[in-house]
C-alpha cells in the first residue's frame, strides 16, 4: 500500500534576506491524507507553492518527483495538468457567477469558443453530488454559505481530475458542523483514491483524518509521524512544532475581579440589508474589571454582529439598546465615540478590517490613537517609533524593525500588531474577536498570556471564539449565543464543552 505518489527532496527556497525553506523533504504515499503542521511562518504554504508551481521550478533548489516523474512546473496550470490542485485558504471564487460557472472557470466546457450551458450545468450537478451538495448549479456563489463554497472549491478540483488535492487551512473559516462535513468528504475522496495534503492548525482535525503528519519548523522538516506506527499524538505534534513541550496550553492566572465596567442592556440589531432579519435579540451582558468574559456561539449566532454594533454601530441597522460604563449610560454610536469611552474592538478579520497592510508596524500601532502622539494636530514621529518599539519588544513581534510592512508578517505577528494598536489606545474594555484565528500554537500561547496580563492590569476583556477549549482555558465567565439570543451565562467553574454546546444549540422561540 505504501506507494509514494509524491517525493520532494532537498527543497530550498530563498527570498531576499530570508531562507524560507531549507533542505525540506516530504514523502506522500498514494491514497493517504497527509497533514502538514507547523507554526505560522514555518514555511508550509511556501512549500505548497513550490509544489503547485506558483514559484517556477528554477526559483528554488531541490527535486520534486510526482508519480516517479520529475516535475518542473512553471505555472499553476502545469501542476494542474498533472493532477495537483491547490485550494487556498482564501477562496478563489467569483461571487456573482453561478456555482457551475465557478467550477468550470478557466476550464469552460465549450465548443468553438461558445459555452455549452447544458453540459456545464449537468456536469456541475454531478460534481456537486460527489461532494455532497444538493444546490442548484445556477445559484450565484454569494448566495451559499462559506462552508458550501469550500465544497464547491473541492468540486472544482475534482473537475480537473485531481490526483493530489492540497488544502491550505480548509476549515479556518468554517463552523464545527461544516468542518465535520469537509473532513468526512476528504476521507470519502480518499476512498476514491484521491491523495490529500492538508495544512491545518487544528490538531483534533488532524487526528481525525490524517494518516501521516509532517512537521515543519523554521523552514526545515522536523519529522514525519505515521498513524500506522502509532506516532500521531497531540503532545508529539505540538512538541515538534514549537520545539518544546507545552506543559500547559493556557497560562496560569488568578483572576482578581472588581466592579462592573461595561453593561449592555436589551441590545437589538437588524441585518443591514435584510430588514426582516433581526440578528441580535434583546441581548444583555456585562463585564467587570479584571475579568475575561467569553462569547461562545456557532457561526451565525450573532457574536461578531453584537460586538461590532456596540463598537460604533459598524454593523447592522436599527440598533437599539443601552450601553453603560461604570453605571453611566454612554453613547457608542460612532467608532470615535466608542474609543473615547475606552472601548476597543480587535477584529476577527485582520487583513480586511484590522491592518493597513501596505504600511509599517509603527503606523499601524499608532493608527487608533494618533492623537496621543500629537500636539495640535502634528505627530511626533520619534515618539511614535519609540512607542512602536516598546510594543515590538513587549509583545515579542518578530520583525527586523518597526519599519517592517505589516503585510509581510505572519498571522501571529500581525495579530500582535493589532493588539498593540488597541493596547496603545489604552481602553478599559477590550473586545477580542477570534484573537487566535489562523495562528499557530506557540503564538496562541503568547496571545493568551497577553490577555491574562491585560486582565491583571484591570482591563475588562471580552473574547469571542469558536474554539470552546480556548474559552474554557482563558475565561472567567462565558455567555452563549444562539441565533441572536443570549441563551446562557456560565461561570467557568460550571462550564464544560458539553454544557456550552447545549446552550449554543438551544432554540429560543
Amino acid at each position: 500500500m505504501n506507494v509514494p505518489i509524491l517525493q520532494m527532496r532537498g527543497i530550498t527556497k530563498t527570498f531576499p534576506g530570508v531562507k524560507a525553506l531549507q533542505d525540506v523533504t516530504l514523502d506522500v504515499n498514494r491514497g493517504e491524507v497527509h497533514a502538514i503542521c507547523g507554526e505560522n511562518g514555518a514555511g508550509k504554504s511556501t512549500l505548497m507553492k513550490v509544489l503547485s508551481g506558483v514559484y517556477p521550478h528554477n526559483t528554488f533548489d531541490g527535486d520534486i518527483l510526482f508519480e516517479n516523474e520529475p516535475c518542473d512546473f512553471s505555472t499553476i496550470s502545469d501542476s494542474e495538468k498533472r493532477g495537483i490542485v491547490i485550494i487556498h485558504q482564501e477562496l478563489a471564487l467569483s461571487p456573482y457567477l453561478s456555482i457551475a460557472e465557478n467550477i468550470f472557470l478557466g476550464n469552460e466546457l465549450a465548443s468553438r469558443g461558445w459555452v455549452d450551458w447544458r453540459k456545464t450545468n449537468l456536469e456541475a450537478a454531478k460534481l456537486l453530488a460527489r461532494v455532497g451538495l444538493s444546490e442548484n448549479p445556477v445559484t450565484p456563489i454569494q448566495h451559499i454559505s462559506v462552508g458550501k463554497q469550500q465544497l464547491v472549491e473541492i468540486a472544482k478540483a475534482l473537475s480537473k481530475e485531481v490526483k493530489l488535492l492540497i488544502l491550505d487551512e480548509p476549515t479556518a473559516a468554517l463552523n464545527d458542523e461544516d468542518s465535520g462535513h469537509l473532513l468526512d468528504l476528504i476521507l470519502h475522496l480518499k476512498g476514491q483514491g484521491v491523495t490529500s495534503i492538508i495544512i491545518s492548525h487544528k490538531l483534533n482535525e488532524i487526528r481525525k483524518v490524517a494518516d501521516a503528519v509532517t512537521i515543519i519548523r523554521d523552514g526545515r522538516t522536523i519529522e514525519t509521524l505515521r498513524l500506522d506506527q502509532g506516532q500521531i499524538t497531540q503532545e508529539r505534534i505540538i512538541r515538534g512544532m514549537v520545539g518544546r513541550d507545552l506543559e500547559s496550553l493556557y497560562p496560569e492566572r488568578t483572576p482578581s475581579i472588581g466592579e462592573e465596567v461595561l453593561r449592555i442592556e436589551d441590545w437589538t440589531v437588524q441585518h443591514p440589508q435584510d430588514h426582516t432579519r433581526t440578528v441580535v435579540h434583546n441581548a444583555s451582558l456585562n463585564v467587570r474589571k479584571g475579568e475575561v468574559v467569553g462569547l461562545a456561539g456557532l457561526m451565525g449566532a450573532g457574536r461578531t454582529e453584537l460586538a461590532m454594533s456596540v463598537f460604533g454601530r459598524t454593523y447592522g441597522r436599527a440598533v437599539s439598546g443601552k450601553v453603560f460604563k461604570h453605571g453611566q449610560e454612554i453613547n457608542t454610536s460612532t467608532v470615535s465615540e466608542a474609543i473615547r469611552h475606552g472601548l476597543a474592538y480587535a477584529t476577527e478579520d485582520r487583513k480586511h478590517y484590522g491592518l493597513n497592510l501596505i504600511e509599517d508596524i509603527k503606523r499601524n500601532v499608532s493608527m487608533a490613537a494618533l492623537r496621543k502622539l500629537a500636539k495640535r494636530g502634528w505627530v511626533d514621529r520619534n515618539e511614535e517609533t519609540i512607542v512602536a518599539n516598546r510594543y515590538r519588544t513587549s509583545m515579542n513581534i518578530k520583525a527586523p524593525s518597526v519599519a517592517a510592512i505589516t503585510g509581510k508578517l505572519s498571522g501571529g505577528n500581525q495579530q500582535k500588531v493589532v493588539l498593540s494598536k488597541w493596547m496603545f489606545s489604552d481602553p478599559d474594555v477590550l473586545i477580542l474577536d477570534e484573537p487566535t484565528r489562523g495562528i499557530d500554537v506557540g503564538a496562541k500561547f503568547e496571545i493568551y498570556t497577553i490577555i491574562a496580563e491585560l486582565a491583571a492590569e484591570g482591563k475588562a476583556v471580552i473574547v469571542i471564539s469558536s474554539e470552546l477549549p480556548e474559552l474554557l482555558g482563558i475565561c472567567d465567565r462565558i455567555y452563549t449565543l444562539s441565533a441572536g439570543h443570549i441563551t446562557g451565562e456560565v461561570p467557568i467553574a460550571e462550564a464544560t464543552q458539553e454544557s456550552l454546546m447545549h446552550y449554543m444549540t438551544q432554540e429560543k422561540e
Binding site: 504554504s45 482564501e90 459598524t314 467608532v335 524593525s401 505572519s410
Partner: protein, 446 residues
C-alpha cells in the same frame, strides 16, 4: 569600501525615488544637448517654473486625493471656472485683487465641498462625481463668460502669474541680489535642518541612512539649489508664483507626513475598513480632501488666468490629466495609500521639461502627446516591474512573501522595505526624504 557597499544597498532600497529623480536629470540633460543649451538658459528656466506652476499646484491636491484612493477629473474645469469668476469679479465688478483672490478661493472651497459631499457622504465614486463636475463646471465657465473671454486684468493680479520679486539692487547688478539671498539662505536652512534631523534620529537610534549616502545627497541638493538660484538671479529674479509654490510644497509635505490629517489620509487609502474601525472619521477626511482640492484648483485657475491676462472659455482644459499624470509618475499608487507631494512635484517637472523641451525643438503637439503618454506608461510600468522584482507583485505572492520571519531579528533598525510603498512609508519629512524630493527642496526655499 563597506561604506560604499552600504550606500549602494541603501540606494537600491530606494530605487523608485532615486530612479525618478535620475530620470528627471537625464531628461534635462538630453534636452539641454538637443536644444543647444537653450533649455537651461536663465530665461527659459524662469519660464519653466512659471509655465508649470499651476499644474504643480494642482498636482499637490491631486496626489492627496489619489493617496486617499480617489481621483479628481474636474480640476481643469474648476480652474477654468474660477478664472471666469475672477474675471467677472475683477474686470466687470471692479473688485480689488485682495478681495477677489480670497473670494475666488472661497468659491473653490464651495465647489470642492459640493463634490466632497457627494463623494464622502452620499457615497458616489469620485470618478463619477468629478466626471460630472468636469461637465458641470465647464458649463458654468461658459455661462459665466457668455462664451467670450474677459480681459485685461490689473497688474496686481497679473503679478501672480508673471511677476517677480522686486530687484533690490535697482537693476545695476548682473545678479539679482534678493534671489541670491533667498537661495543661499534656503540652502543653508535645508543643510541645517537635515543635519539636525539626522542628529535627532541618531539620538533615538532610528538612523538607517549610511553616512556616505547622506553626505552625497545633501551636497547634491545644495549644489542643485545654488545652481537654480544662480540661473534665476541672472535673469529677472524670483517669480512670485515660485514663492507661492514653495510655501505650498513645504506646508503640504509636512501636512501629509506629520499631521494627523495627513496620516489619516494614508490610512484611508491603505485600508478603508481598518481606518474606519480605528476610529478615523473617514467621511470627514474625504470631504476635507476635496474641499482642499477645490481651493488649490481655484488657486491654479487664478495663476493661469493671471499669466494669460485673460479668462477664457476653454481655460484649464486638460489640466486634470497633466496633474494626474504628475502624481502617478511621481510614484502614487492607483489603489491608494502610497504617494508623496514631493514625488508629484518631480512628476510634474518631468512633464514640464518634456513640454518645454519639445516646444523649443519645434515638435508639434501630436508628438508631444505621444511622448508624454509613453513616459507616463513607462514610469508606472517601471514601478510595477520594480515591485514584482522585490517580490510584492501579485496578491497571491504577497500573502506568503515573508512568512518566515527572520530568526535573527536584528536589534538595530535596518531598511526592511524594498517596495516603493515601503520606502514612502519609511521616509521622513526632510532629512530622510526620498531623493526624488530634492529638486523641489531646491526650488522651495527661494
Amino acid at each position: 569600501m563597506s561604506a560604499l557597499r552600504e550606500s549602494l544597498g541603501f540606494l537600491t532600497s530606494r530605487l523608485r525615488q532615486v530612479g525618478i529623480f535620475v530620470a528627471l536629470i537625464l531628461i534635462v540633460l538630453l534636452f539641454q544637448v538637443l536644444t543647444d543649451g537653450i533649455l537651461l538658459q536663465p530665461q527659459n528656466v524662469t519660464n519653466l517654473v512659471v509655465q508649470n506652476s499651476y499644474i504643480l499646484i494642482l498636482a499637490i491636491g491631486m496626489v492627496m486625493v489619489i493617496i486617499a484612493g480617489h481621483i479628481d477629473l474636474s480640476v481643469g474645469s474648476i480652474a477654468g471656472f474660477i478664472g471666469a469668476v475672477s474675471g467677472v469679479m475683477i474686470v466687470h465688478w471692479g473688485w480689488a485683487w485682495w478681495i477677489a483672490i480670497p473670494a475666488c478661493l472661497l468659491v473653490g472651497a464651495l465647489v470642492g465641498a459640493w463634490q466632497g459631499y457627494w463623494i464622502a457622504y452620499v457615497g458616489i465614486p469620485a470618478f463619477i462625481v468629478t466626471l460630472a463636475g468636469m461637465l458641470i463646471f465647464r458649463g458654468l465657465t461658459l455661462i459665466t463668460l457668455k462664451n467670450q473671454q474677459i480681459t485685461p486684468f490689473p497688474d496686481e493680479l497679473r503679478a501672480l502669474g508673471g511677476g517677480f520679486l522686486p530687484d533690490i539692487s535697482g537693476g545695476t547688478s548682473v545678479l539679482e541680489w534678493l534671489t541670491v539671498i533667498l537661495g543661499v539662505g534656503g540652502t543653508a536652512a535645508i543643510l541645517f535642518q537635515s543635519i539636525k534631523e539626522r542628529r535627532v534620529r541618531r539620538k533615538f537610534n532610528l538612523e538607517n541612512e549610511p553616512m556616505a549616502w547622506f553626505a552625497t545627497k545633501t551636497a547634491f541638493i545644495a549644489v542643485l539649489m545654488l545652481t537654480i538660484t544662480f540661473l534665476l538671479a541672472s535673469y529677472r529674479g524670483t517669480p512670485i508664483v515660485l514663492i507661492v509654490l514653495a510655501v505650498l510644497v513645504i506646508a503640504y509635505s509636512a501636512l501629509m507626513s506629520n499631521s494627523i490629517f495627513g496620516r489619516h489620509t494614508y490610512a484611508i487609502g491603505g485600508n478603508l475598513h481598518a481606518a474606519e474601525l480605528s476610529g478615523i472619521k473617514t467621511k470627514a477626511v474625504t470631504f476635507r480632501l476635496f474641499v482642499n482640492m477645490g481651493v488649490l484648483a481655484a488657486l491654479a485657475g487664478l495663476v493661469f488666468t493671471a499669466r494669460l491676462n485673460s479668462a477664457q472659455p476653454a481655460g484649464g482644459t486638460g489640466f486634470e490629466l497633466d496633474s494626474i499624470a504628475a502624481a502617478f509618475i511621481g510614484g502614487a499608487a492607483v489603489q491608494g495609500g502610497i504617494g508623496t507631494v514631493a514625488g508629484a512635484m518631480i512628476g510634474g517637472l518631468i512633464m514640464g521639461v518634456l513640454n518645454n523641451g519639445m516646444s523649443i525643438l519645434g515638435l508639434g503637439t501630436d508628438y508631444q502627446q505621444l511622448i508624454k503618454g509613453l513616459v507616463l506608461l513607462l514610469a508606472v510600468g517601471f514601478d510595477i516591474f520594480n515591485k514584482n522584482r522585490s517580490g510584492g507583485g501579485s496578491t497571491i505572492a504577497k500573502r506568503f512573501k515573508w512568512k518566515t520571519a527572520p530568526s535573527d531579528s536584528a536589534e538595530e533598525p535596518r531598511p526592511a522595505a524594498k517596495t516603493p510603498a515601503a520606502v514612502a512609508a519609511v521616509a521622513s519629512p526632510a532629512g530622510a526624504e526620498p531623493v526624488g524630493a530634492q529638486p523641489v527642496g531646491a526650488v522651495e526655499n527661494h
